[in-house]
């Protein structure tokens, strides 16, 4: 191995900047899972009877399921009785203003660069902050509600808009969909709910910030976004967790529902704690994300930048049911040290003239393993469906792996499906060129990697793109100075 590859490898041994823990008083239930625990969670959240039953049905179904073994990832068996399914920062009954929020908690989000004080917020971004199992604060709510937009924590939505929740909950990802979705349906604690009324263009980015703080807890949040006819919303999701030696499970469900002419843009910057350099600890990120383009001319775009987690297992997907609907998936997945990622998308074409685009950029460093897994399915009635997929892998060093698993199921002869894939190593000659112009090795690597991810970053809202670039630099940065 050449010397510059060695330093490259050192570069890619990064330090996690969000690994601190906060001393926040919590209301924690005992470890373990049973019908009683499911009931207890539902009760803690004062949920209506139907929702308790919905959870229990999911739980009973889950009991009969087995954990999927097909992803290209490896981990010791998870003991589901060794997980805490509910942890909430202790607080007064109802928060009236920010003054009532635990200062330690505000400080936690400040440290993460997510000030919850509206005066200090970036103009144009409304934030829902979720710590462990509950939402602690949603900003800009009043302003949004003037337009009829609902942006609240999931629990609050259950209380205040039960009819909407009942109508849409599980309509895109049924509780029986898969092992982790069923588990989530049984024990989900909080998350965000967004409803954009007919014809409304949401004037700001909506954003949820997820943070795991408690030890031994799992995080099981649910996000539901409903965009009525002709509406538009752009939604951002960010996440971090403290550094701990044990693995922690994060099994979220995200459902997007787009009606006629509606557009939903969903962007994720996932930076859960990835574990240490030896692969100890880190988050298991087993997530089900799906969008339904239910209406004509509707559009759903998933953009994800995945840098964190010990294991990532997720396939943000689009079901293109409405005629002329459009699904897009733009992804950057970075794995380093001993991280494993099996991620990609499913594009299910059901309506006529439906179009989908998949741009996936994998970056593997260290001893990591990075797989793209994607399904393009064209149903019998999907006349003139069109898919374009491009899956690129970039390898840094020679101890990491990159894999591509594209699946195709086409039942309509008029479909056009194009797939391109490349695998490349970060070029010594590119590094030499940039360094010959005076850039440090680290800056040169970042420049090359950012260039490689450009198509995806272009899809992110401005502030998020900058954030993503920084994150990428951190993920690949090393102790070499």
């Amino acid at each position: 191995m050449s010397e510059s590859m060695q330093t490259l490898e050192e570069h890619t041994r990064s330090d996690y900047k969000y690994g601190f823990t906060s001393n926040i008083e919590s209301d924690v239930i005992p470890k373990g899972l049973s019908e009683d625990v499911v009931r207890l969670i539902s009760q803690k959240k004062n949920e209506p009877e139907w929702l308790t039953e919905w959870r229990l049905a999911a739980y009973r179904h889950w009991l009969g399921m087995t954990e999927p073994k097909w992803p290209n990832v490896h981990y010791p068996p998870i003991d589901y009785q060794d997980i805490i399914y509910y942890a909430a920062p202790k607080k007064k009954e109802q928060l009236k203003s920010l003054d009532e929020v635990d200062p330690e908690l505000l400080e936690t989000f400040n440290k993460l660069g997510i000030p919850l004080d509206e005066q200090k917020l970036l103009a144009g971004v409304a934030v829902d902050a979720v710590l462990d199992s509950v939402s602690v604060k949603t900003t800009y709510k009043e302003k949004l509600s003037e337009l009829g937009i609902i942006f609240s924590s999931f629990s609050e939505a259950v209380r205040e808009h039960p009819e909407l929740i009942r109508k849409y909950l599980g309509s895109v990802v049924p509780p029986t969909d898969n092992y982790f979705a069923a588990l989530n349906s049984a024990v989900f604690s909080d998350g965000s709910f967004v409803y954009i009324p007919k014809g409304v263009r949401c004037p700001m980015e909506l954003s949820t910030y997820f943070r795991i703080n408690e030890r031994n807890t799992g995080q099981f949040e649910r996000t539901l976004i409903v965009a009525e006819e002709g509406s538009y919303v752009s939604y951002l999701e960010g996440c971090t967790a403290p550094m701990r030696d044990e693995n922690q499970l994060h099994a979220a469900v995200v459902e997007l529902y787009a009606l006629d002419e509606a557009t939903i843009k969903y962007s994720t910057v996932q930076n859960w704690y990835p574990g240490d350099k030896e692969g100890k600890g880190g988050i298991y990120n087993f997530v089900t994300k799906r969008g339904l383009c239910a209406g004509r001319n509707s559009k759903i775009t998933w953009t994800q930048v995945e840098t964190g987690s010990a294991i990532t297992w997720k396939y943000p997907s689009c079901v293109l049911r409405g005629d002329n609907s459009v699904g897009e998936f733009y992804s950057v997945a970075v794995t380093n040290n001993y991280q494993q990622a099996d991620t990609g998308t499913k594009m299910v074409h059901l309506g006529k003239n439906t179009r989908s685009t998949i741009i996936s950029k994998g970056i593997s460093a260290g001893f990591s393993n990075n797989s793209y897994r994607g399904l393009v399915k064209v149903g019998k009635k999907a006349e003139n469906a069109h898919n374009f997929s491009q899956c690129d892998s970039l390898l840094m060093g020679d101890k990491c792996g990159a894999h591509t698993f594209p699946y195709l199921e086409v039942e309509n002869k008029t479909a056009r499906v194009e797939h391109e894939a490349t695998t490349s190593k970060i070029g010594e000659d590119q590094l030499f060129y940039l360094m010959q112009r005076g850039l440090s090795e680290e800056d040169a690597v970042n420049m090359i990697v950012n260039g490689y991810c450009k198509e995806v970053f272009n899809e992110l809202p401005m502030e998020f793109a900058v954030e993503a670039q920084k994150l990428l630099a951190i993920s690949l940065e090393g102790s070499v100075g």
Partner: protein
């Protein structure tokens, strides 16, 4: 400025440079000529610090310091610039962004203040004119899909922006049309100064009509076998390398 003493260089265990001696003083222009595969690019690369090119013996002093122990970026920051024979493409990195980063990286390393966006734009406009480059290239990915001539002009633009102390041009004239050749030569001539030196690798005497060198060296089989002034280049143009090869080979076989 630069003193090379008995420098031997290997690539993948194969000795390519077999003892180079060369001194370049401030303000001088040295032309290096020689048949294909004689080691010209190797010399350029080893000076710039390319890793595969391993100096097995000899020494290189640059501004009084041991050049060979410096990293690639340190050399660049100390004023060594290599215009590449084959500039690489870097997808997704806009030329403008790249130029800004390099100019400021070098300025910072030299203890100068970094340029702000406005100053940078002014500087770029200025230098772009000097090398006759199309401003639109700034928005494109670095070197990606650039024509041969565009790549070479972009190299000259970078040289003009970075203001090196020692510029090494590896066949910058190859593949250029007559007009482009003049522009490259003009750029070099404008940058010529008492404290800036050039090593110009070329196959053609034509370039040396525009950039008049102080010395011309002929590299053959990893050695400088002949040195002279610009008249040597003319002689080579007329007679080819055979006479030099014969001379050198007969000396070697003694």
């Amino acid at each position: 400025m630069l003193i090379i003493k008995d420098l031997k260089v290997s690539v993948e265990e194969k000795e390519i440079l077999q003892g180079i001696n060369l001194e370049v003083k401030p303000g001088e222009v040295h032309a290096i000529m020689g048949p294909n595969g004689s080691g010209k690019s190797t010399l350029a690369n080893v000076l710039a610090g390319r890793e595969e090119y391993v100096a097995t013996s000899g020494s290189v002093l640059y501004q009084g310091e041991n050049l060979l122990e410096k990293e690639v970026d340190e050399r660049a920051q100390a004023g060594i610039f290599l215009a590449f024979q084959y500039p690489v493409e870097i997808p997704g990195v806009s030329t403008a962004n790249f130029l800004k980063s390099t100019v400021n990286a070098v300025r910072k390393a030299q203890g100068k203040e970094e340029l702000n966006a406005v100053q940078m734009l002014r500087l770029m406009r200025d230098k772009i004119k000097m090398v006759g480059m199309d401003e639109k290239l700034l928005q494109r990915s670095l070197n990606e899909g650039f024509s041969g001539g565009e790549k070479k002009r972009s190299e000259m633009l970078q040289m003009a922006l970075l203001e090196p102390r020692l510029a090494i041009l590896d066949e910058t004239d190859s593949g250029l049309d007559i007009d482009a050749l003049r522009i490259v030569a003009d750029a070099v001539n404008q940058l010529r100064s008492a404290d800036r030196s050039f090593i110009i690798v070329t196959h053609y005497q034509r370039l040396l009509n525009y950039i008049v060198p102080d010395y011309v060296h002929v590299l053959y089989k990893g050695r400088i076998v002949k040195s002279g002034d610009k008249s040597l280049a003319m002689q080579l143009e007329e007679q080819g390398y055979d006479w030099i090869k014969e001379e050198a080979d007969s000396v070697a076989s003694l």
